[in-house]
Amino acid sequence: MREILIAILKYRGFIWSSVKRDFQSRYQMSILGAAWLVLQPLAMITVYTVIFSQLMQARLPQSTGPFAYSIYLCSGILTWGLFAEILSRMQVVFIENANLLKKVTFPRICLPVIIVLSCILNFLIIFSLFLFFLAVTGNFPGVDFFYIIPILIIQVLFASGLGITLGVLNVFFRDVGQFVTVLLQFWFWFTPVVYVYTTLPVWAQRWLNYNPMTAIINGYHEVFVHNTVPDFFAMKWTVAIAVIFCVLGIYLFRKHAADMVDEL
């Protein structure tokens, strides 16, 4: 563990400029550039707002504001987006960098760190736009806003731990990559992002509680929609699972890092 941290510190220059390059390369080839960063989630939010709020008349039971459902959607979709992006990019992190891994010697742990940082950077940009929207419409949650920081930390920890586990496994078992795509589809709809958790029947709520992401997304909703303190106690299992995957991920990485190059 210690040598991993030292390696990250020593190669921070490489990590940081890789994050910058990652950001640039994603948008420099397109005409609209960084606007795509906003356009993609915006399109998704519009589709869900129209279908669920307008056509299917979904309403939030307690809140009445005109933007209530939009805020509900945004707080869930944007944070889910961070989770899904980390996971889907982490599972291919070693495979996509095969060329570099095979020819240059450097601490391999840098690659997942770059992914996590660049996902967080993207998230912060788009999330600050959301916060701006909240402030303008007078829906900013105030000091309670800071409750989302621990939730974000738990979420990123969970995504990174699971991501690195899948990333290492994917090198040896390429089925993992296919599986993750399918998994994320199901996972999205098994998490109360689009629909409202409290309107579900009790038996369905009970099933959803087995999903570690439910407590996380509910936490965001509590802060942004209901302006209440999130239920941190409900996140205890998520924290436990996040820690388990982090330990498993680091274990697998250390055990198989040397063999990885031979498989790529």
């Binding site: 060329n99 240059v104 031979d262």
Partner: protein, 428 residues
């Protein structure tokens, strides 16, 4: 003091007969071995001094690249260890892991960061890379638009721009054009003067002979020889021939028993390994073997300028043919460019009429006119010199290397030929 010390290094890859076997091995606690090992390197040991240039030679698949990867640290040895002193700059398999979407400049920066260049030094290093690579405005275009030669230029420039203690180069010079190769050799010579250790893989043996003081010859994952470069190169080149003979002798014993052939009539089953079957002719006359012999009658593949050689082709007649057939021999450089044409009719020699089942051996005795380089021989038989039909034809039937005499090599000789010349210096 050593610069690189390789101690009993072995490498084997795990091969699982079915994909599921690896999963079973990971999840099941049982100690059952589900894979078989493929040995690539076997107990390799040698030691390289600081400031020395060492060549690594061997046929494709001998384990040279794997060995370099282990020394560099991109892959781990299964057993044994490598100790090295100081910073290693490596150029493995013609690349530095460049990202195709980034420009040459961006990639050079990434590579520089990975080699541990600090922010302050980076500008200077990049300027040096740009100058040395000499690819003009392509340096600011994405690497995917580069030719392989341009990539090699940038990669070599990056690897050598950094002040390193050890430089590892894997066949980097084979892609670049001649001008760049020369530039690379100059830079590597300069590095040697600066006491940098250089480990160098090349199939161009003359480069190894010229540049390296010692060489490691690797075959089948083992060190076959380690010592003075010229000696090891000779050994390697002649062993290529020996390999062939041993196969041939096995085949021959069978043939002799079956057909009761004259012992001079030898058959080489590998004769056509570099030539396409479509290129052969009607096979009314067919080549069975082709040899290059030295004055002692031993088969050779490496020789020195002014050596006397005998070149011999064994021909079998499969169908009756009329007289006047000519046997062609063309010596070309390694790219196949014709350099020396020695068809039998140029020397007033034509075959007599032959009956099916008869054999002839035709031979050329001559002095090698070349002073350096690698050459290939193409052979063919035509019914008469102007015919467009062939009885038989084999491309690249033989490859040989001519070594420059040491006294010329020391004068940094570069060229295919060397001729007597009258020289004058007039002082005014």
């Amino acid at each position: 003091m050593y610069s690189i010390k390789v101690e009993n290094v072995s490498k084997s890859y795990k091969q699982y007969p079915r994909k599921i076997d690896r999963l079973l091995e990971w999840v099941l606690p049982s100690k059952k071995k589900r894979f078989h090992e493929k040995h690539v390197l076997n107990n390799v040991s040698f030691e390289i001094e600081k400031g020395e240039a060492v060549g690594i030679i061997g046929v494709n698949g001998a384990g040279k690249s794997t060995l370099l990867k282990i020394i560099t640290g991109t892959t781990a040895a299964t057993s044994g260890q490598v100790k090295s002193q100081g910073r290693i700059a490596a150029l493995l398999e013609l690349g530095m892991g460049f990202h195709p979407d980034f420009t040459g400049r961006q990639n050079a920066v990434i590579a520089g960061q990975l080699l541990g260049i600090t922010e302050e030094d980076m500008d200077e290093v990049i300027r040096d890379v740009e100058n040395f690579a000499g690819i003009g405005e392509y340096f600011d275009s994405p690497v995917r638009t580069y030719s392989s030669g341009m990539q090699a230029r940038v990669a070599f420039s990056v690897a050598t721009a950094v002040k390193a203690d050890i430089l590892i180069v894997d066949e980097a010079l084979s892609v670049g054009d001649l001008a760049f190769q020369a530039k690379c050799m100059q830079r590597m010579n300069k590095m040697l003067e600066d006491n940098v250790t250089i480990l160098f893989v090349s199939h161009a043996l003359f480069q190894v002979r010229q540049f390296c003081s010692r060489a490691v010859y690797i075959a089948d994952g083992e060190v076959k020889a380690f010592g003075a470069a010229a000696k090891v190169c000779d050994l390697y080149q002649n062993s290529l021939v020996e390999n062939k003979i041993s196969i041939k002798e096995q085949e021959n014993t069978g043939l002799i028993v079956n057909h009761k052939l004259d012992p001079d009539i030898t058959v080489n089953p590998n004769l056509r390994q570099n030539s396409l079957q479509e290129n052969a002719g009607s096979l009314a006359l067919e080549f069975l073997d082709f040899k290059m012999l030295n004055a002692e009658g031993e088969e050779i593949a490496t020789l020195y300028a002014k050596d006397k050689v005998t070149v011999q082709a064994v021909i079998r007649c499969n169908r009756d043919v009329p007289a006047e057939a000519c046997v062609g021999m063309l010596i070309g450089d390694k790219n196949g460019f014709p350099v020396l044409s020695m068809n039998s009719n140029y020397y007033d020699t034509r075959l007599e009429s032959l009956k099916a089942g008869e054999h002839v051996i035709i031979s050329w005795d001559f002095v090698i006119p070349f002073y350096m380089g690698e050459y290939r021989i193409d052979i063919g038989i035509k019914p008469e010199p102007y015919s467009s039909d062939f009885y038989d034809r084999i491309f690249c039937v033989k490859v040989f290397t001519v070594n420059t005499p040491v006294e010329l090599l020391k004068e940094n000789f570069g060229g295919m030929l060397h001729i007597p010349a009258e020289m004058k210096i007039i002082k005014k």
